[in-house]
Symmetry: C2
Subunit: 356 residues, 2 copies
């Protein structure tokens, strides 16, 4: 049976990336060694890392004010690492609370300084993005989550602010062209649009660093990682390699313009189908719908289990909603073919015709 992988992360990766990675585990680029066995200070790995960095710079059209780092951990590590590096004990950081991950990020920041929740949509179970809020001028930075993987919302226009903008882009990075230079710091766990779990991308504008008095543990210090060229300690070699391959694939396929074209084709098909079938019940505000993760429910709650069972039976992987939210979630990352969304929509229509 053909499987369709709608996992929310770790999630589907491009087939050529998997084939190349599989080969490299046995013989990396004809060296006779596995990618798992080569030293991280060899010219071989230097090339991998440099290509990954330059691909990020190219895709983001970054100028030299920015540095690109590949660090251990996931976005959850950055929830702590960002305030540790940017927020002094007496400082205040502004956070938008638009979903479970942003909320967790704010909680970690409160361990390092003051946190001002400038906006929260928890009143309506995070089913919309509040765009009408004020960021105090004295905030050290404003933190947003560009796409809420769990709740299925996404910022389609970023907030205008005078303070440095910090973004968790884990689940929509490289899905569309963005003016990345609006941001002072961008971070993303790799395991959605960019590779395998176990590495973080951090893009940082150098001018925001070195402004706090706290002593930062070496391994958490962005400045020290910049000085060491992402090689302060043994990096997660294989995870960096898979990111490099995925970035190479994005560029070869046509870059972010092409990724957006595909994303729009998939998400508009999905949402159009959803809106046409009353058996399904979308709760997210239309203007804030995520192009990456469509979250919805069954109008009749008792139909949820039969629908999820049917999905399973038909090879639709990973469509169960997040454990705290329930319902259905369809993740449509870069590597997901349109054909998978078409198959899912046909299944929705079939289900509606039987149960609608």
């Amino acid at each position: 049976m053909k499987l369709h992988n709608f996992n929310s992360g770790p999630s589907i990766l491009p087939q050529p990336v998997l084939e190349e990675a599989s080969k490299a585990i046995i013989d990396f680029n004809g060296t006779g060694l596995s990618i798992l066995e080569i030293g991280h200070r060899t010219a071989w790995f230097q090339e991998v890392l440099q290509e990954a960095i330059s691909s990020v710079k190219k895709l983001m059209q970054l100028n030299d004010d920015y540095e690109v780092l590949f660090l251990h951990g996931g976005a959850t590590t950055q929830f702590m690492q960002v305030p540790m590096n940017l927020l002094d004990t007496e400082d205040t950081a502004a956070y938008c609370d638009n979903g479970i991950w942003g909320s967790k990020a704010a909680k970690e920041a409160a361990l390092f300084g003051h946190v001002n929740i400038v906006s929260s949509t928890s009143d309506k179970q995070y089913t919309y993005i509040d765009k009408q809020f004020i960021t105090p001028d004295n905030a050290k930075y404003l933190h947003i989550t560009t796409n809420n993987t769990v709740e299925g919302t996404q910022w389609h226009q970023y907030p205008e602010t005078l303070v440095p903008l910090v973004a968790d882009m884990s689940s929509d990075i490289f899905s569309r062209p963005v003016d990345f230079q609006k941001f002072s710091l961008i971070y993303a766990g790799a395991q959605k649009n960019m590779g395998a779990a176990g590495v973080n991308l951090v893009v940082v504008k150098k001018e925001i660093l070195g402004k706090i008095s706290r002593s930062i543990p070496t391994i958490m210090n962005y400045q020290k990682h910049i000085e060491a060229g992402s090689l302060m300690n043994t990096p997660p070699v294989f995870a960096v390699y898979v990111s490099m391959l995925t970035l190479r694939w994005i560029l070869a396929e046509g870059g972010l313009v092409e990724m957006e074209k595909r994303t729009l084709a998939k998400s508009s098909l999905l949402y159009n189908t959803l809106d046409s079938l009353p058996v399904f019940h979308p709760t997210v505000a239309k203007e804030d719908r995520s192009q990456m993760n469509a979250v919805f429910f069954l109008s009749d709650k008792t139909l949820e289990t039969p629908f999820l069972d049917l999905c399973k039976q038909e090879g639709m992987i990973g469509v169960k909603g997040y454990r705290t939210v329930g319902g259905v979630r369809v993740s449509m990352y870069n590597a997901l073919p349109l054909e998978s969304v078409q198959a899912f929509c046909q299944l929705m229509e079939y289900f509606a015709s039987r149960k609608g």
Copy 2:
């Protein structure tokens, strides 16, 4: 040309592990999905994680006082995470300074509390282990590095102490049977004897946790990781999988007794050859020699480059000494076949016959 991989880490892995991992990148256990694409909360990954944990417990013969965690990062992350979890601001921790990594660990600990360097062998470039030192009874813990990868020394009998013993075992873990229950906390980056870079093993005696007043960032909190069963956030799935395969291989080959037998065969051959050839100049105290990493020099310094060139030419990978130490380093981890050490020793003899 047959390559012999003496890399100090990332280093050689067992061939069956590489083959299994390569297959799993395309199709994990016949699921039709790549190991890189499966959710970390699926039963599939749960099985991987549980086997990894139970293999560690079996190899270490741990009782239920201990928990086994697989965490993001490398040992360098633990340099910070250990004191963050165990050392209050007014507390003192005792550190043995027997090499570059232990020295770095002590430096990070000083950011969290007081550090008492109870022993240092920096007077002789870390070429021996000082076993005559006193640990103050009020120390929160005593930290040692069981094997010094860079300098080529190893503890062959662990210090007796009344305070909790904490060890960085990154470069000799699972190379021999050890009374692991002597330790209150053991950590190890995976990329030597246990797998690929990008994951840390942490084994912790539960009773030492929860005794400090500091607020610990969630992702750094051992207690929270225990509660979440190593699944607080997306773990480095593939790196955990490779560790599981490597641990399975160690068990199948005969466990730690067999690993020690092989280690002794390799290291005694290497050291006997070294001692018999005056062209080479070992500087490490004989009784403290590492069975994992043999570090030595050329008696005539001008012969170093010709020897390293010859090694390269003959397919001996990764035998250049660490950048701050120089000379030659031969790493003999579990997966290195005896045949590679035999080939290296023949090369030493050949070189001695020409230049000795």
